[in-house]
């Protein structure tokens, strides 16, 4: 999972509700308003909205008497939480040692440039969420990226962009993403995030 950018996350963009006050209240009730159940509540909010809208978190903090700083601390610590809506497609680009040596940083630069997306961010057209990671365990394919679960190896900067443009113009919504979101009920874990930078 990516490192979310700090700073003000986007405000609630969901058209179906007004700042989710009722959603949050319902979730709080579900757990009897117990502040110790903060994480499950946040998981439920994410399951309902696809990410953690800022207004929801404010409401949550206010209602539970938990400082907002604490909630953001939790939200940014666990990779399973998202503070920004996810794009239609998720690009996971490996920046591990081998991929790095084979030019992953150029690929990253071109993707950022082409789709106006920052690492950890979502493109303005909400097509792509871009998540650089460290070693996908597929070094033989280096440099490698995964888009919606599908692996693309031996990339160059231009082939990566070609692939992404093709995906962007196809109609099919990413099923993998939708499914993963629906299953966000498992306890957030900080494991399995790949190795540290050398």
């Amino acid at each position: 999972m990516s490192q979310p950018q700090l700073g003000p996350p986007p405000t609630c963009q969901s058209p179906e509700h007004t700042c989710g006050v009722s959603v949050v209240h319902e979730i709080i009730e579900r757990y009897g308003g117990n502040p110790e159940m903060l994480i499950p509540m946040m998981q439920d909010i994410q399951a309902a909205e696809g990410y953690l809208p800022r207004e929801h978190l404010r409401t949550l903090g206010r209602e539970l008497g938990v400082p907002l700083s604490r909630i953001y601390g939790v939200a940014t610590f666990y990779a399973a939480f998202r503070l920004q809506p996810k794009g239609k497609h998720t690009i996971t680009l490996c920046m591990g040692t081998v991929c790095y040596l084979k030019g992953a940083d150029q690929i990253s630069a071109v993707i950022q440039d082409e789709f106006q997306v920052k690492p950890g961010g979502t493109s303005p057209d909400r097509k792509f969420t871009f998540a650089p990671v460290n070693c996908l365990g597929a070094c033989a394919l280096a440099p490698v990226m995964v888009v919606d679960g599908e692996y693309f190896g031996g990339l160059s900067a231009s082939s990566a962009v070609d692939i992404l443009q093709k995906i962007a113009s196809s109609k099919k919504p990413s099923e993998a993403v939708a499914k993963a979101d629906a299953k966000q009920k498992t306890a957030a874990q900080k494991n399995g995030r790949g190795s540290q930078n050398p």
Binding site: L6, P67, L68, S69, Y72, T76, F77, R193, Q196, N197
Partner: protein, 905 residues
Amino acid sequence: MATIYIDNQPYVVKDGQNLLRACLSLGFNLPYFCWHPAMNSVGACRQCAVKQFKDEKDTKGRIVMACMTLAADGTRISIDDPEVRRFRAGVIEFLMVNHPHDCPVCDEGGECHLQDMTVMTGHNYRRFRFRKRTHRNQELGPLVNHEMNRCIACYRCLRFYRDYAGGRDFDVFQWHNYVYFGRQSDGVLENEFSGNLVEVCPTGVFTDKTLKGHYTRKWDLQTAPSICVHCGLGCNTIPGERYGILRRIRNRYHREVNGYFLCDRGRYGYEFVNSPRRIRQPIFRSERSGAAQPVEKQAALEQAAKILGSGERVIGIGSSRASLEANFALRTLVGADRFYRGLAEAECRLLDTAIALLRDGPAPAASMSDAAQSDAVLVLGEDLTNTAPMLAYSVRQSTLQREIGLTKRLHVSWWDDAAIRQALQERRGPLYIATPAATKLDDVATEVYRAAPDDLVRFAQALAHALGAEIPPVSALPRKLAALADVVAEALYLARRPVVVCGTSSGSESLLRAAGNVAWALSAAEHRGQLCLVLPDCNSFGLGLLGGGSLADACRAIQEGKAETVVVLENDLSRHADQAALKLLDEVRHLVALDYLEHATTAAAELVFPAATFAEANGTLVNNEGRAQRSYQVFVPQGKTQASWRWLQEMMVAVGRQAEASWRSFDEITAALAEALPIFAAVKDIAPPEGFRMAGQRVPRQPHRYSGRTAMHAQADVHEPTPLADPDSPLSFSMEGSQRQPPPPLVPRFWAPGWNSMQAITRFQEEVNGPLRGGDSGRRLIEPQPDAAIRYFSDLPAEFEPRPDEWLLVPVDHIFGSEELSALSPGIAQLTPAPYLALSASDAAGANIQEGEKVVLAMDGLHQALPVRFLPSLPRGVAGLPVGLPGMMHVTLPGWAKLSKVTAS
């Protein structure tokens, strides 16, 4: 006592502590990051590694963290073992991977714990060649600067801010390489102790933003030991100056007073010293309302002689923010019976009541360290965070005491901070707060009671009665309240070191007396009740002991024609007197003022003398526990500015009274004070005399690395000027002098070889968290009477009744804004609220007043239009009036006022 072996040498250390603390107390150089003397151990940084051996025969040993290992009898460790040395160097190398190495442009450079520790471990070659992770910094307001890239993730900032200072808007975000310490989003740090992050953070992540505006390295600052002048607690400070500009304030450790920390008012209130509103030259007005004319010193003194020569019709008005010496000089000039304290009548009465409680009863005054170690605290009527900030910090720490005691059976060491907090969770020990409105300490309070001052008195008296004070029970107390009184009485009774906190800011003498009753009843039951009384100004206590009438008395003297010349010392009378009194004072024949800044009184004076601030003259201040402490001149001020007592002495000489004012130096005036008033006898002994030398040398105000001495004045002269003489203290205005550790009152800065940051403090203490070597400085001037018969007070006001068309105004204090001098410092001024009137939402609704709407307040013939702000916790019928904010008029509170809506015209 335990014997431990460090590199095969035996050392005897105190039982129960951890190895890091023991090693530092013994003077070893053992690096650390996450440990802090005030915050103990969490074992997070792995920097304090040592090698521990099972016994003499064990040669292999294993690496342990010194801060997490008990220094038990027989423990054998090595600091010097090559493997553990490599380990420590390796830890630093890892921390340095992401550290930007930007020391030359970092404000921390030269006093950086990370620099010191890096050098100490011997990591001196960088192998990492890759990109470093970078962060976006946050804008945290006018006081603290944020530069996240420098973070080494020691977690000290978070622990201080959240766990110790009680801040709620700061946390750690993200994980591993990306951990981020800051607020949830940009914005002013809300906590009143945020400035301590500057000293707590071992790197340059958090630095002093006001210093940035006139940056100077630590080694280039001229410093001297000083006392904070922004409230009555007397925290010890180290102000630093260069080029005639006061550049910052740092903490000066005092075990009994402020420990390792300062509040933001104290740390950032200093900039008034550099204010463009400073008076730098004597001013004369030939017409009272005419233009001010700067005059030469001699001409001003001649003018003063002319005015004062008229003899006995001169009165003097002293000041609670001026030193004992300055007040004493004025008192000598005008005569004891013509010396007035410069406080309103009510202020005088409150002050006298408070001092009498500490002098006449059995309960000793509690220092801040006593308050922090207390296992049951009762706060009556004080919003401590805003009236005595560091005391609020201490009381917050007290809430852990009883619970820590209870965790003993869990076999958790007291210094294992993470384990203790884990075990305690949200449990906090007895703290009861009874105030008119909510306070910031309420979040750790066991129970709060909010009521009008009279009801607080009734509650406190019921409590005193429950504790056995021989006063009648309080009848008709609501049942719930009576039950609460019993609960609080029990908690105090069962505590080992109960402390009762009260003060003058509620404006109720009865409340002070009731607090006295509670503490005395505890003492009578042999429960060592301590009394901690908050006083408003840095020398309120001293002025109280000096005695003298109130401003009302002064006005009476004027009215009766007994005074036609008034000399006002360091006092803006509009802060203490009402309009009528001010008018009277304005109209006396001659008004002479001495002060540092222009204000209403200096503007009305015919003759004004430029007085030195705390940083420009020595002075003795008496804090709220009655401790006399010496504050030293840091630098020589510009222009004709000099200490008030010197001006007053020169005035006396000018009128031909040299015999009475023979004091030429600071020591001489303190000696005269001690002789004239026996209560101040100890004042001359609280610090070494001017003649004190160490190995024949003075104590240098400038560090031995002070740079650019010849260059500093090159525009005037390429020759290095002779250092200015200091006739008043054993300190020198130069870098020459003894580099040894001076006696505690003279310590001008904390520095030791290898220790450039504030962490050098452990080299100055007898042991970690002990007194500075040489003992705690300052001396208490009054002691309690443990054996005197207790005469309880029976004040019992009637129950508070809201009135239909009036409101009881109670004072609301603001840490930023309520104190005169700090409010003139730009950083603090930015955080100062605009004047307002506080109402509870329900009361406002009843009167059909919206938030933000302007109302006219009418009280004692005063009218002021103020916008309304909601303060939900106010009791019915009670309104809050912020005190001391720039633009607020002086009124004596509590008092009844009428409110009327402003009708748009």
